[in-house]
Amino acid sequence: MNSSTGWDHGVGRHLLGIEGMGRSDLERILEVTDRFAEIGRRPIPKVPALRGRTVASVFFEDSTRTRLSFETAARRLSADTLTFTAGSSSLSKGESLRDTVEVIRSYGADVLVIRHGMAGTPHRVAQWTDAAVVNAGDGCHEHPTQALLDAYTLREHRGALDGMSIAIVGDILHSRVARSGVLAFSLLGAEVTLVAPTTLLPPSLEDWPVRVSHDLDDVIGSLDACYMLRMQRERHDDGLIPSLREYTADYGLSARRAERLPKDALILHPGPTNPGVEIAAEVAAAERSVILDQVANGVSVRMAVLFLLLGSVPDPDAVAEAN
């Protein structure tokens, strides 16, 4: 779909990141997602589109939610699934990343869904294998299917992202969700404001299509969506914030602060939440919170991505030609 420009991050043969994709690439995926969302609402939410294909989850870092979401998506497409997690692996025996990938490929995996703690690892794997690679989160870099499901969720509630004002609040520095979100939301026409203390922002925001604020109260009254990021408790030990208490006071979405959001503003969170840290439990459960929609849409978006990478027929109800 996108042309290869030295580093092919978009959906061409691989989905490595939102970086490198154009607005039409994103819109195409969201349109295809609509069809899979419909399939998801059927009594038997399963189509034969990827029968005979194999989707491997290759997770070097724990993430039950993302892995289950991808595996559910693969099964609804009738693909076979393989699961590799680092805990059960031979990496501890000194096997190299490249060997691991080649072994999994040799089991017939057509897609490698990769989660790794270091930025760029899926990009390296893509250079080594002829399988399709999907980035399911690489370190502090990107998490493209998360941004797609977030955009899909916003679009579901608002029709389009054009002109929306979206704040992403919290630990931007370490967040692959934020990096992919910034790119996807702004490509789709939203205005993004990053809200965080300076220590939790990337050292340079040169060329980022964002505004920056250190004052959530200052921006909250004019938002269409407030995206709260998970706050890792160890950031306090890293010396990046004085305490979780001060963080919650300044950047947490308390019930009281949430009242100042415009009436129809949406609240998003990539999950799992830290209730009482970045978001109050009652705010996460409130009607305007679309956190559970995000989870449900995740499966549809991932079905669309796997289908677009592997499906060779336009109709998901038909079986893709084995090739």
Binding site: G6, E19, H123, E206, W208
Partner: protein
């Protein structure tokens, strides 16, 4: 009567002239002139005949990591690159921090294609605490001390090292050189590339320029305090270059080197996530590259070094954070310097040959003018020959060159080590 280097243009610190050079059987230059007759001619037509190059900064990996490089293969790579002397870095396994390892490195270097000059660690195990037996090492002929790979973090330890080194001048015959890898690790920890726009975009932890600059600043201050002779390794930032410029203007006994990669590549190269571009100090910005070139141009930076750092394919296939830093340099340095340093031919040779020879205390046998009775450590290169870089084709045991596929100009034709042709027509003979 021996070998005659015929038809080349001799360029050395005295100037240049088109003359033949006759090498005597004693490994020294026998005669310089026209119409010389020898037993064997080496064709130097169209070539520059120059004093051999001297690298202040080579990781030869032996003892300890012979899978990546050995002294034999590293020296062969050096000879093919025009080098006649390599200062071997002490981050071996075990660390070169005592006379026994120094003697081992020197013995391994004896049959090699270049002179191997062992440097020694400043602190035991390069751990930054306890001084190595510097007096004993000086007596064994070591003139350069460095914990390269890491800088000495503790300012009190560094002060004591500087003070102690000043008392060894008479024993060595000239001042002991303390060569520092400037990096405050408290600031660089968790960083794998230059901290800036690219690291932010790529989601890779960054090493700020200030991690280098703070230690340059500290060591200039301590050099002023102690009078010690400091050499700054691989300067990579504009502010570092400016501080060294100022220190030299103030008359402090400091010298500096820059690597070829720090004036040819920027942090944008890391966008492909290939750790072949991971190096310490990291590749920096366009502005830093310009500052390094300006530092070379005005002599703030005395020498071009390689920081030749071989790593196996296996090691460089690790994720970016886990892959070891470093890149090959010996076989590409001369070409890159000729094309990208901004220096003229004489300036390139000064930075690659006679200035580093003086810094390493090798001026008696390397880098000197091409005159009768001087040791015949010479390189002959065709400044117009073009070639394409291929890691696999290199003599190094490793292939981690960041210049894969680059077309470069300037290629070594012959290299003479103590009169012996170790490279002839671009082929290694040792």
């Amino acid at each position: 009567m021996g070998i005659v280097l015929r038809g080349g243009r001799v360029v050395d610190s005295d100037g240049e002239s088109v003359v033949d050079v006759e090498i005597g059987d004693d490994g020294r230059i026998a005669a310089v002139g026209t119409g010389l007759v020898g037993e064997e001619d080496l064709d130097c037509a169209g070539c520059v005949v120059a004093p051999g190059l001297v690298d202040l900064h080579a990781h030869l990996r032996q003892p300890g990591d012979e899978e990546a490089e050995t002294i034999e293969t590293g020296a062969r790579a050096g000879a093919l690159g025009g080098y006649t002397a390599l200062v071997a870095m002490p981050n071996t396994e075990p660390t070169t921090d005592c006379v026994a390892v120094v003697e081992q490195v020197r013995a391994l270097g004896e049959p090699a294609a270049c002179e191997i000059v062992p440097s020694a660690a400043m602190t035991v195990g390069r751990r930054g605490h306890q001084m190595t037996p510097m007096g004993e090492l000086v007596d064994a002929g070591v003139g350069m001390f460095t914990d390269d790979g890491t800088g000495v973090q503790d300012p009190q330890v560094m002060r004591r090292l500087m003070e102690y080194s000043t008392g060894l001048t008479d024993r060595l015959g000239h001042p002991v050189v303390l060569a520092q890898h400037c990096e405050v690790t408290a600031l660089s920890e968790g960083g794998y590339m230059h901290e800036g726009a690219w690291s932010s975009r790529l989601g890779i932890g960054g090493q700020p320029a200030e991690a280098e600059e703070l230690m340059v600043m500290r060591d200039i201050t301590l050099a002023r305090m102690t009078g010690a002779r400091i050499h700054f390794q691989h300067l990579s930032t504009g502010v570092s270059v400016a501080m060294v410029r100022e220190a030299k203007a103030a008359g402090l006994p400091v010298t500096a080197e820059a690597t070829t990669h720090h004036f040819t590549l920027t942090d944008a190269a890391c966008a492909c996530y290939d750790p072949v571009f991971k190096v310490h100090p990291p590749l920096r910005t366009d502005a830093d590259v310009a500052a390094v070139r300006a530092g070379l141009a005005d002599g703030t930076i005395d020498a071009i070094a390689t920081d030749h750092a071989p790593h196996t394919v296996h090691a460089k296939e690790r994720p970016f954070d886990q892959a070891p830093p470093g890149m090959l340099g010996l076989e590409t340095a001369l070409s890159l310097a000729l094309e990208y340093s901004g220096l003229d031919l004489s300036g390139v040779l000064a930075a690659l040959s006679w200035r580093p020879a003086a810094i390493a205390g090798l001026a008696d046998r390397h880098g000197g003018p091409v005159r009768p009775s001087r040791p015949a450590n010479l390189c002959v290169f065709d400044p117009d020959a073009t070639w394409t870089v291929s890691g696999r084709a290199m003599a190094s045991r490793s292939a981690n060159t960041p210049y894969e596929g680059w077309s470069l100009r300037g290629r070594v034709r012959h290299t003479l080590n103590r009169g012996e042709p170790v490279v002839v027509d671009g082929e290694a003979r040792r």
